[in-house]
């Protein structure tokens, strides 16, 4: 017994290390297998409430530019409301509320913590379960695409930014309608890459890239960026396209969480395909 105690006393340090290291690795494995693990969501809640306070101070510095973005968006939306249109077709349907069914709803949120200089970047938003945010909802800003929620706690949600190696949103060229995938290869936070765009259809520098609406996270037509340069990859027959993001992720402050009412139905329908 005394030997055992001596043994433990001597090597406790190594045991403690293995214990702590093991715990850390356990948390990492939880992260990657279950999006929305309990530990992440507790940590999220704590970090969120602290960041919320510091954000209250730092957001004064960006008030000007956020205001500008919001005003611009307001003006655009004002142009879309009914009162700014003159009715030309008087034969329009009477009960047009049964013709349209709302597919997307938006929850406004504020970014309270973010990273942009890592290989994999995340945001924390100040809206959580209580406000209707759920995992796998898309997040957009007035300027364009932002990311996808991967974890929610009571009051906060964690967003995987498009500046992440696992983020591969489906996009399309607004002019040619050809779709592809957006990837980010690290480094510059204002430049991304498009892959899977067949090189048979000509591109132009300055083409606008928008979300395709194929993935149910984002509505169709959300701005992504503009093509800055492109090159044919001889081996594969695809373009390698560089784009400049329309969103300045460094200044990001107010965003919208996208709630898709048809998502479940869509997932149910496509579930069988994935299983095969």
């Amino acid at each position: 017994m005394r030997n055992l105690i001596r043994f433990l006393k001597r090597y406790y340090y190594i045991f403690l290390f293995i214990l702590l290291e093991g715990f850390a690795i356990y948390i990492i494995s939880q992260n990657s297998y279950y999006q929305g693990s309990a530990i992440t969501s507790i940590a999220n809640e704590t970090a969120g409430s602290i960041s919320n306070r510091t954000q209250n101070i730092s957001h004064y510095f960006t008030l000007g530019s956020s205001n500008e973005a919001l005003v611009k968006e307001n003006a655009m939306l004002r142009g879309m409301i009914e009162s700014s249109y003159v009715k030309y077709q008087h034969k329009a349907f009477q009960h047009n509320d049964t013709i349209y069914k709302q597919q997307f709803e938006y929850i406004d949120a504020k970014v309270i913590q973010k990273t942009i200089n890592k290989r994999n970047n995340y945001f924390i938003l100040n809206k959580g379960l209580l406000h209707g945010a759920r995992a796998n909802m898309g997040v957009i800003s007035p300027d364009g695409i932002v990311g996808v929620i991967i974890n929610v706690s009571q009051n906060f949600s964690l967003v995987m930014s498009v500046l992440h190696q696992d983020s591969r949103p489906n996009i399309k060229n607004s002019r040619t309608k050809i779709s592809g995938t957006l990837v980010w290869e690290g480094g510059n936070y204002s430049a991304g890459k498009l892959v899977d765009i067949p090189s048979s259809i000509p591109l132009k520098i300055g083409d606008t890239i928008i979300t395709s609406g194929f993935s149910q996270d984002f509505p169709e037509g959300i701005s992504v960026g503009k093509i800055t340069s492109f090159d044919k990859d001889k081996g594969t027959g695809f373009y390698i396209v560089d784009i400049k993001f329309s969103v300045d992720y460094n200044k990001l402050e107010y965003v919208y969480i996208v709630k898709n009412f048809f998502k479940q139905e869509h997932e149910k329908l496509t579930k069988d395909i994935k299983n095969e």
Binding site: L16, E21, T54, T115, N117, Y122, I124
Partner: protein, 170 residues
């Protein structure tokens, strides 16, 4: 001793806050991401019990993790640094110096001793951190580039802070 604990606590909060709220939001050149929270572990007094170093590395890692979204990564890497620190302490300090509870810094060690100690540990830390963060061989050159640039920036920031905040002996 009490003063040391209080001071350590203060360092913990200041360094974590600086890392999380200032450095994590900064963006230089795209590849540079100084991770100065390692400094907290490196500058613990030489006589700090090993278990305390381990627990402190774990908690510092966890706090930084909480604010960067992906829990566990900083934690695992920093705990490893806490684990190998005593080895480096015994290389860079004599037995007598360890007993007298020195704080590894330019003031106590001189730049010629402190720099290698700092550089080796920071490099090991960054190497592990960026390797595990990216976890793919596809981007290996980019990763190496990040490791080198970030290590250099971290070392420079720590040297600057050490020089500014700790009294230099004449």
């Amino acid at each position: 001793m009490n003063k040391d604990i209080l001071l350590g606590f203060l360092h913990f909060i200041l360094i974590a806050a600086f890392q999380v709220f200032i450095l994590n939001g900064m963006h230089f050149v795209g590849y540079i991401n100084p991770l100065i929270y390692v400094w907290f572990i490196l500058m613990l007094p030489t006589n700090t019990p090993k278990w305390a170093v381990l627990l402190l590395s774990f908690s510092m890692g966890f706090v930084v993790d909480m604010f960067s979204g992906y829990i566990g990564l900083h934690c695992a890497v920093l705990t490893f640094i806490g684990f190998i620190r005593p080895l480096f302490i015994s290389v860079f300090f004599s037995g007598k110096e360890i007993e007298s509870n020195l704080r590894p810094s330019i003031a106590e060690m001189g730049l010629s001793n402190f720099l290698p100690y700092l550089a080796i540990l920071v490099f090991i830390h960054h190497f592990l951190y960026f390797t595990f963060e990216i976890f793919s061989f596809a981007e290996i050159f980019k990763t190496l580039f990040r490791i080198v640039l970030s290590s250099i920036s971290t070392i420079l920031v720590i040297l600057l802070f050490d020089f500014l905040f700790f009294k230099q002996k004449k």
